[in-house]
Structures are given as C-alpha cells and as structure tokens.
Amino acid sequence: MTLKLLDISEINMTNESRRGFIGKAFGAVAGVGAVASLVAMKRTWDPLPSVMSAGFTTVDVSSLVENKLEIVVWRGKPIFLLKYSAAMKPTEGRNVKIGDHYFSVMIGLCTHLGCIPAYRPDTKDFKCACHGGEFTADGVNVFGPPPRPLDIPPFKIDGTTLVLGEEGEEYKKLTAKA
C-alpha cells in the first residue's frame, strides 16, 4: 500500500481559502446579528406607546384673571396661559382671541435650555433665572441667549375651552401668520 504524499503548499492554500470563507461567513452572520441587536436595543430605549399617546389637556379659560399667569401641564410641560387686559396690545401671530379676550398660549420653557421663566406682572414680561433670557408677554425673546420666541403648543378652541394637543383652526391660522 502506498500513500500519496500531498504537496504541503497545496494543503496550506486550500486551508487558507477555507478559513477565508469561514471568516467571511462568520463576518456576515455577526454583522446581521449586530445590526439586529442594535435595532432591538434602540427600540427598548424608545418612549413607550403609552407615553407617546399620552392624552390631551382641557382648560376652561373663562375663569382666568387678567395679567395673571396661569400654568397648566400638558405632556409634562408647563403651558403658560396669560389673559390680556384691555391695556395690553396683542401681536399678530402670537396671541389668540378666545371669547372677548386675547390670550398668550405658550410652552413655558425657555427656548435656551428649557428652564421655566417667571412672569413679572408689573413690567409685563418673562425673565428666565437660569441664564438671564427675557421674553415679552406674547413670548418674543428680547434679551439674552434664547434663540427664538416661546413655542406655541398645538391647541383647539371649543367655546371658552382650550384643548391642548390637537391642531384646531385658530392654531393653524396663528402659526401660518407667524
């Protein structure tokens, strides 16, 4: 019985290409696995459906007092409701008329880094204590680091009732003007 001796270099060649194939195949499996894991991990960090669908806030504005800031909560955010007195001038694209009065309806978070500005009824403006930003009564930034006016949340008006979280006629008109 004779043994046929294989050329050593030939064995190495075949082994190397086999290893190369196994390496690429494993790379593909690992790659798919890595992408799938990242998707799953990203989804786990996403806000829960219950959070995303978290409801609407309804406020009756008829009982509000002129030039006194009312704060309601919508999606964990403070919403500024400011009823204008006759002496206060409303601004196009910033104030909305509900019944006989003009109102400021704004998200009460400084557009700089999200602190809550305080209302000063005597000077009729907002002052943010964190970094010194100032806003007018209709929410326009006039001093300091805030880059833009206070944001207006989506709302709908139903008589004297304000529904936050739904885009109504008045909201669309208001934002179209701004």
Binding site: P47, V73, G76, H112, P145
Partner: protein, 416 residues
Amino acid sequence: MAEFKKAESTLEWFDQRLGVTNLYKVMMSEYWIPKKINFLWAMGVILIMLFKILLISGIFLLMYYKPDVNMAFDSVNYTIMQEVGYGWLFRHIHAVGASVVFLVIYIHMFTGIYYGSYKKGREMIWLSGMLLFVLFSAEGFSGYMLPWGQMSYWAAYVITEIFGGIPFIGNELVVWIRGNFYVSDATLTRFFMLHVLLIPLAILGAIAFHFYALRFPHVNNEDGEFFDFDEEAEKYLAGNKKESKVVPFWPVFLSKDFMVLGFFMIFFFYLVFYHYGFAMDAINFDKADGLKTPAHIYPEWYFLWSYEVLRGFFFEIAGISGKDLGLIAFAIANGIFLVFPWLDRSPLVKPANQRPYFKYWFWLLIADLIVLTIYGKLPPTGINAWVGFFSSMTFLILFAVLPVITKMEAKKVGGE
C-alpha cells in the same frame, strides 16, 4: 498535559497551576518605576482607592435605594439618611468621594500636562486617561440624578436638552434619551442602570487598559528623561540600587504611595465627617418638581468650567445664535483635551517651567479655568456675563494658539 511533578510547597502548587511567581514579577516586583518622581505620581493609586471607596459605598446604598420617581427621594433622604444604620455615612462617603475623585483626576491630568507625559510614545496613556475622564463624568452625571431632588431633576433636564442642539435629529434624540417628552420615571430608571452597571463596567475595562498602556512607554519622570528601562532594571537587580534610575513598583514605589495615600485618606475622612456639606447642595433636599425651576441652577464644581463655556456666549455673532455658539464652544471644550498630544507640536518632554513658551501657556490655562469655575457658579447677569464671555473666548484662543507657540518653541530649542 504538560510534564508534571508533585508540588513541594503551597507556593509551588499554585505556581504550577497559575504561574503566580511570574505574575508577581511582571505586575509587582519587576515592574519598573523611575526614581526621580514626586508626590504627584501618587495620584493614580489615590484614584484607584477612591474608585474602590465609591464602589463599596455604592453597593451599600444600592441595598436601600429605589429607582422610582415616587420613592427615590424618600429612599435616600428618609430611609438611607435616617433609618439605615450608618446609612448617612455611606451616603456622605459616596457624595464626597464623587466630588474628590474629580479633584484628584484634575490634579492627575494637569500633572500629565505639566510634565509632558502625553507625547513621544505616551499618547495612548493620555487617550485612555481622557476616556476615563469622560466615563467618570457620565458616572457623576447619572449618579447626581438618583436622589431625585430639584438639582437632580434640572441638571438632568438641562444636560439632556443639550443633545437637542444636534442638527436634524436633536429633538427626537432628546425624547429618545429621556424615554419621554420630559425627564420622567423612564429617564430615572435608565440612568440608574447606567450608573450602577454599564458605566462602572466600562470604567473597570478602561482602568485595565490605562494601566496596560503604561507598560510599554513606561511612567514619565520629573525631568522628562528617556532612558533604557531594561538596562536600569538590570543594574537594580544586580544590586546597584543606588546607581539605577528605577525602583520596583512593589515594594519600593507603592510604600511611598501608601504614605501619600495615608495623608489623603485623613483629609478625605475629615471632609466626610466635618465638611460633607460642599457635596450636598441644599436645593437638592427639595423633591424634584418638573414645573418649578430653581431660581439659580448650576452643576457640581467640577463641571462649572465647561458649563461657563456653554453659557458664555449670550449674544449672536455673525448670524449664529448665542445658543448655538455656546453649544459649539461647549463641544470643543469637552473634546479638545482628547487631542492634546497632537496640539503640542514641540518635541520637548520637560516640565512646563523648563519650556520657554509653554510655561506661560500652562499657567494661563490654569488661571482661565479657575476664573471659568468661579463665574460658572455666579448668576449670569451684568458684568458676570461679560467675564464669562471673555474667559470662554480666552479658553478657545489658548487652544487655538497652542500648536503655534509649541511650533515656535520647537524652532527655538532646535536652534540653541
């Protein structure tokens, strides 16, 4: 199995199985440290000690802490502080430790900058060290949220809001990080996970890497002198201890480190028992309220300098809003130290006082960081806002000119 004979002693038994004698040599008795060093070289060992203290005190706090918005505040301020035996002690150790660890990290870091221990082969030591700084910052931030007081809440709010400055995906990213439209229960629970598991694991890995990165380029010395460690080690092992420029890590180097560590621990526990207040902000003893921003918010002292850079730009320049400028400057401030070895274009590895231009640069940077830290705590009104602006600009300019002055320095010393 390899050839095997019955062990004659316990040591030999372990040696056969784990190679303990070799391990001891490599890690301790034949790991060589330069002789010409001072107490500043003990900061690494102090940091290891502080990390252990934080880990152990953290484990005890973990037994009673509840990561839930309704229970977190009371579990810390009532259960741990008043009911658990020595719970107050573990909390104070943890809080003071978290603050002091940054003090020692800064000393460690600026020692490296002063003595030039980040270049000519030591780049990976520097990079892994900066990675540790980033991880410790994340650990400090996530831990600060857990007591769920007013400062916890608003720090979490403002810092997560910063990610909103990233173009296009900013707003969605903030909601994703928080797990809600605002800082809420989901936010608290996920940052709790990061604080007690993921970041500490990453820190352990980074510490191992940091140590490993030291093995090839070796520890720097007071003169920045380069010498052959193998040669010096041979001298030492041959009994020429006086002539040799190195000492073994154990027992020679560590015994002196333990001396420094002893003084440090006395100082540390003095703070824990008599001056813990600086690490416990009074405002954080009010429970978190998402609808009431405290009149004045500021981070812990170790983040004040970068916070001041963030808010230093309070007006628009060339059409870019103050907010965006602040965010850009903040991003630069936090990233610039990472590339420090490549900004210093001078080949000199010498203490700063022996470098013709760098010495001024170094002390200017220290002075500017102190100004930023002091004004970071003050309300940003009137003159304070301008001091903030100019010291932020100084910080950016210092780093912009660093390559230039070190290049000039390289020319000057090259011509000598």
